[in-house]
């Protein structure tokens, strides 16, 4: 699947999942790592909107194509490399917001869940159809749901395979805001501008690094690094 990056104005870039009509992908390494890195590291960039091209966010993996590959050697490694892309987003140096419209299913929903924020158009549909196909969500869905939705909501979504609308997704905690379809991108942009518009690039990156350290480092190491980051920001480096 192609990723189209445009830096955008005021530090808010846009990254588009581009394989219309459904933006579903044929292989577990679903996009080029270099494009994703370029979008996240672009100079002057302070936040990123991730969306799908056209009517849908993403329908995830193409199940027929995926089934064919399941028994091929190296499939598991490819899946791990695909997951590395998700980790790049989850640990991004700038906030990433998934702007969801249409279908956001399976691995598509897993991509959205690894983002920091999710805004959804009122008519969008979200769900994990994997169990209906005798599989389970295998792209970090169960992990990224934890801490976003309640345990009960997570089990419901993961096992039932049912699709939920934007309003219910909001009630379950997996969507932060439901937007009118026509206002989705502008709402997303306004929200991100409210966060980073008046912050320096150094501030944004320092805060995001420290939040990331909270997940990956032991407490004392994370605290020590926070002090260093604070000094860097305070000295305007």
């Amino acid at each position: 699947m192609k990723l189209l990056f445009s830096p955008g104005t005021e530090g808010i870039g846009v990254l588009v999942l581009a394989k219309p009509p459904h933006n579903s992908f044929d292989e577990p390494l679903f996009a080029a790592r270099s494009t994703l890195e370029q979008a996240l590291e672009h100079p002057g960039q302070k936040a990123l909107i991730l969306r799908g091209e056209g009517r849908h966010f993403s329908h995830g993996a193409d199940r027929e194509k995926l089934r064919e590959q399941l028994r091929e050697p190296g499939f598991q490694q490819l899946m791990d490399r695909g997951k590395e892309l998700l980790a790049l987003i989850a640990d991004a140096p700038i906030p990433v917001l998934a702007a969801i419209r249409g279908g956001c299913l399976g691995a598509g929903l897993e991509i959205a869940l690894c983002c920091h924020f999710r805004f959804a158009a009122a008519s969008s549909l979200l769900g994990f159809p994997e169990t209906e196909l005798g599989l389970i969500p295998g792209f970090g869905g169960p992990l990224f749901l934890d801490g976003v939705a309640t345990r009960r909501a997570a089990v419901d979504l993961l096992l039932s395979g049912r699709m939920v609308g934007a309003a219910e997704a909001h009630d379950l905690g997996i969507v932060d805001r439901v937007c009118a379809g026509a206002a989705l991108e502008s709402d997303a942009r306004d929200f991100l501008l409210g966060l980073v518009g008046r912050r320096t690039v150094t501030q944004v990156r320092a805060v995001m690094e420290s939040l990331r350290n909270a997940r990956h480092l032991p407490l004392t190491a994370a605290l020590r690094r926070e002090t260093e980051l604070f000094m860097k920001v305070a000295r305007g480096e």
Partner: protein, 220 residues
């Protein structure tokens, strides 16, 4: 007069304004220590605050307190550090001194997390900046309905520097933490409860009693 006397360090009967704007009080009937942020009205944290804070915690620990309740003297918990002084401290000559204060503050709050007994922040009114970072270092947080919370550091061209960016995401999740830290916006008690920033919201008049009950319940 047959009741056991208060521990030797107690100033519970003759409260006086402590050094660094802090007081340690052992209540008459109990072995729960109260650490009072006592520089009203805002209980701002000056440069002497953090050293005193660590010293008083050591005292509470030595006297085997069964729990520690941290609260503000008066209407507010704390408005945090003086931003003007803080920013001046980081420019030019005073830079390394300011860095030392920051390390001292982080260690002071960490010693709260490391207590062998429960620690509860009883929060009324403003709980801002390093005031909130102090509350985050406690094991539990009880808020009065009038409490407001924020980490406004980024709006002053800084960022939280006493554990806020490390402890907040562990409580409320990374997305919400990013939103609160980068926007610096205020959160009221009801929202704080909803997102998991505090464990309970109670009537203002019941705040200290609720914090004590929590210490007794979790320390049992």
């Amino acid at each position: 007069m047959n009741e056991p006397g208060p521990p030797p360090c107690s100033s519970g009967h003759s409260p006086r304004r402590g050094e660094g704007g802090l007081r340690l009080v052992f209540d008459q009937d109990g072995d729960i220590a109260r650490l009072v942020l006592d520089a009203p009205p805002r209980n701002e944290m000056g440069s002497a605050f953090f050293g005193t804070f660590s010293a008083l915690l050591r005292q509470a620990r030595a006297l085997t307190a069964r729990g520690v309740v941290v609260h503000g003297g008066g209407r507010h918990f704390s408005s945090g550090a003086d931003v003007g002084a803080l920013k001046a401290g980081f420019s030019g000559e005073g830079g390394s001194l300011a860095a030392d204060t920051l390390v001292e503050a982080t260690l002071a709050f960490q010693s709260l997390s490391d207590l062998p007994c429960p620690s509860v922040a009883a929060i009324g009114g403003c709980c801002l900046g390093s005031g909130l970072e102090l509350a985050l270092a406690c094991g539990w947080r009880v808020a009065a309905a009038n409490a407001v919370f924020a980490l406004p550091e980024t709006t002053f061209d800084l960022m939280p520097g006493c554990g806020g960016t490390v402890r907040l995401p562990r409580l409320v999740g990374r997305g919400r933490a990013a939103e609160l830290v980068l926007s610096g916006r205020f959160v009221d008690a009801a929202e704080a409860l909803e997102i998991g920033l505090v464990d309970a919201v109670v009537d203002r008049r019941d705040l200290l009693a609720a914090a004590r009950r929590l210490v007794e319940r979790v320390g049992a």
